[in-house]
Amino acid sequence: MSLLEVTGLRTEIDTPQGRIRPVDGVSFSVDAGETLGVVGESGSGKTMTGMSIMRLLPPGGSIAAGSIRLDGHELTSLDEPAMRRLRGSELAMIFQDPMTSLNPVRTIGSQLREAYRIHVDGSRAAATARATEVLGLVGMPRPRERLDDYPHQLSGGMRQRVMIALGLMCEPKLLIADEPTTALDVSIQAQILTLIDDLKAQLSMGVLLITHDMGVIAEYADRVAVMYGGQVVEQSGVRELFEAPRHRYTEALLAAMPTLELDRNAELATIPGSPPKLTDLVPGCRFAPRCAFAQDDCRRTDPALTGGGHLHACFHPADDSGSTMAVKASRTFAKEPRGADALVQLFDVHKRFKVRSKRPFAAKRAVQAVSGVTLTIAAGETLGIVGESGCGKTTLGRMLVGLERPTNGSVSFDGRDLSAQTRTGFRKRRRDLQMMFQDSAAALDPRMTVAALIAEPLVAQGVGTRRERRRAVRELLAAVGLPLEAAERYPHEFSGGQRQRIAMARALALRPKVIVADEPVSALDVSVQAQILNLMRSLQERYGQTYVVISHDLSLLKYLADRIGVMYLGRLVELGAGEDVYNAPRHPYTAGLIEAIPAPESAKNRAAATRSTGLGGELPSAIDPPSGCHFRTRCPLATERCAAEIPVLQPSEGLHAVACHHPLTTQVLTPAR
């Protein structure tokens, strides 16, 4: 008998738009000491499944049918007080954002003690002892002292450790981890997921790992359930799933991920359309409208899960016949010779932000967001900037488009220093430097129609007559693949992917020479990401603009960028051709970052893939960074020289450059251009 058995679970929520079923007939089981990965896009019902087990449903939500059995006991028939006793003792849950899940005005210790004393009739001293023990268990350094800290005094990774500790206080049988690392950096993500994995074996818990990231599933789950539109569409062991996906959706999802060994010049496979809306579901298979293999039977009847050990709900499953989701790689991008002219030049750029202290007479302090970046960007190339949050990559991008002015150093465009120009002169210059923001929902004024939004840069710069601008809007809409009717609608009426297309059209309106894209796809579902990436590349072919893409995701940049720059705590530590940086990293930090990325490949060969957390520790504070090389506190190769002397990046003719006293490899594979 399994630890958790869910059969035919159906959850309903009454909303103003009518009754929706975010979970519709879901069945699975989790054994003790096993991790079941639940993977799906936004709206697939994966979070609601976890919430249904905990019975923490939103207002208007209820479990309509099915059974949830924990250790043989039925949970759906329990009343609320009985459920409350189970939560925190038998069942525990970790949420995505550890900042909002911890109470900011109470100490860690008091929150941990509370979690214990609700369920166990023990003294305060016993609770403190238990809290210290569990904090030690989750790898918190000096746990005793940390008990008196408030959540804001800890870093994001440490807060997530506290959340896990909170869940483990009473040794639960089942841990539900809902996107436990989505808000964290990739190096911290690896640490946290490995921790959960170790604890699972140690305490023989069952773990339900809910995520949107196939890479995380591949490395940390034993079995997988793929969800789509509120249903489980495929369920199997992790190795079978990655080796031979049966459901067409899983297959397409795996093909749409930019992976390490992907050919740069091939177009990414995409899944057309966007995830289904629960308010208006089609009859039959819910994936049918987006599926290249859908037949009449798919549109008529909803396929049931079949197939013994490798369950799938598909009438025309993928087999070995070779035909895959047909949209794959229908074309390749021309390998254009990139111009060698320097378009943008950054020389020793610094940016300091003053930090105001709350105490009246405290010494003034400053955050060194960017310190001494020298960089040349060539016309027509795509430069990727990668690094963890807080490394200064976004500030660098903002300085490129003139949203921030450098404290020291210069940014010059086309040979002219931007900061030396007059205000009006600079405003005209902006035509050539445009930006795409991360969250298109926030970057598009909600009170303007799409036509007004796209035409706005033209209006602001006084380009063209009204009629010419209208024609430009029509052209741009067509270029980014949106229907003409979109012009009269408002941004909120579009899905995330479509909104990013609108943002792209607006960025292109002035035909800029440079577009800085700050995390252009990180807010999108995997199946939609590929569409936007392909669009960005085909538009570059058509209009020839230079991209500077800022991202935390190395595999994305490896696909998109000609050259990659790696930033660490305000400094550029490595710069080279994408292939080189990826295949032969020279800086220990880059090597650690690459190691920390959970890769789908590792599912096929779990034993051989030595799971490494990549980087230990966390990013030091930028208010007083370590002396010498900033990375030395986390570097396995650090010596005394690293503390005394700042390593310098020597950009020698665009070759693979590194700022390190002890670089990993010395060979240079290819010249960048």
């Binding site: 488009v401 902006r430 969250d439 926030a442 004024d445 909600p446 009170r447 602001a460 909120h492």
Partner: protein, 292 residues
């Protein structure tokens, strides 16, 4: 919005318009004309009863609406315009200028309404005009403060930064992005301020600083009835109820406006009126209730 609410709100606004433009259409008796029936309770001939001088209370309540409504509407309109202008200026200004503007706003916020009204009446004489000015000046700092903090918040919104990236000037950004997105907040603030304006206007005339007697006015009538409250309850009650109804109406219509103005609500005035028109032309006027 439900049909019942829609009809109720339309009727209420119609009544307000009549009170402002043509009070004679609602009350046929001269509000100033004295009669022989002193202090009569509500009856068929005098709906709200009569006062000490035998004047019709219903008629006085109807005619008394105009000064109060005008004073509060115009006063709040003045305060909104001035407050939004000052708030946006303070919000987009560099730090020094912002400090100067906002400290001046704080000083005005500390001035009591009564003092402002007394000074105005002493210099410009009593009457609706002075009350409008008093309300306008007294309410401006409140608007300015709220608008300023909203502008500070909106300035870091990504769509405002996006506008900077393609070279929009501060003036243009304020007009195209800041003002439209402040609209909802200003409307809510303004509609509740109308309620406060009505209270302030009636308080001022209650204290004898408003319109000159014997002209009808809710505040002064309320005051006049206060001494006779024990044996003639209707004197103060009806003007009081009128004040209450006005404040409620102002808040309801504010809430509704807010919803209509939000593009995310999907209500577009043009579209609503078009559908209404087609419905009417198809089924005739008697289905106006359903189609609304």
């Amino acid at each position: 919005m439900s049909r019942v609410k829609w009809v109720a709100l339309s009727l209420a606004i119609l009544v307000v318009l009549l009170l402002l433009i043509a009070p004679g259409a609602l009350a046929h008796v001269d509000p100033v004309a004295t009669g022989d029936a002193h202090l009569q309770g509500p009856s068929g001939s005098h709906l709200f009863g009569t006062d000490l001088l035998g004047r019709d209370v219903f008629s006085r309540t109807v005619y008394g609406a105009r000064p109060v409504l005008i004073a509060s509407f115009l006063g709040v309109l003045l305060a909104t315009a001035a407050g939004v202008a000052i708030g946006v200026l303070g919000g987009v200004a560099p730090r020094r200028l912002n400090a100067v503007v906002m400290r001046m706003v704080d000083v005005f916020l500390a001035l009591p309404v009564l003092l402002i009204a007394l000074i105005l009446i002493a210099t410009a004489g009593s009457g609706v005009r002075s009350i409008v000015l008093a309300i306008g000046i007294a309410f401006t700092p409140g608007f300015a403060r709220v608008v300023e903090s909203s502008v500070r918040r909106l300035r870091t919104a990504e769509y405002v930064e996006a506008a900077r990236v393609f070279g929009s000037t501060t003036l243009r950004t304020s007009w195209r992005h800041l003002l439209p997105n402040l609209l909802t907040e200003v409307v809510v603030l303004g509609s509740s301020a109308i309620g406060w304006g009505v209270l302030t206007a009636t308080t001022l005339s209650f204290l004898g600083l408003g319109v000159r007697l014997p002209a009808p006015d809710w505040g002064s009538d309320l005051a006049a009835g206060a001494t006779n409250l024990a044996d003639a309850w209707w004197l103060s009650t009806f003007p009081g109820l009128a004040i209450m109804a006005t404040i409620l109406l102002a808040n309801f219509s504010g809430d509704h406006l807010m919803r209509v103005l939000d593009p995310r609500a999907g209500i577009r005035l043009g579209r609503s009126f078009r559908t209404l028109a087609t419905h009417l032309s198809r089924h005739g006027g008697d289905t106006a209730y359903e189609s609304a």
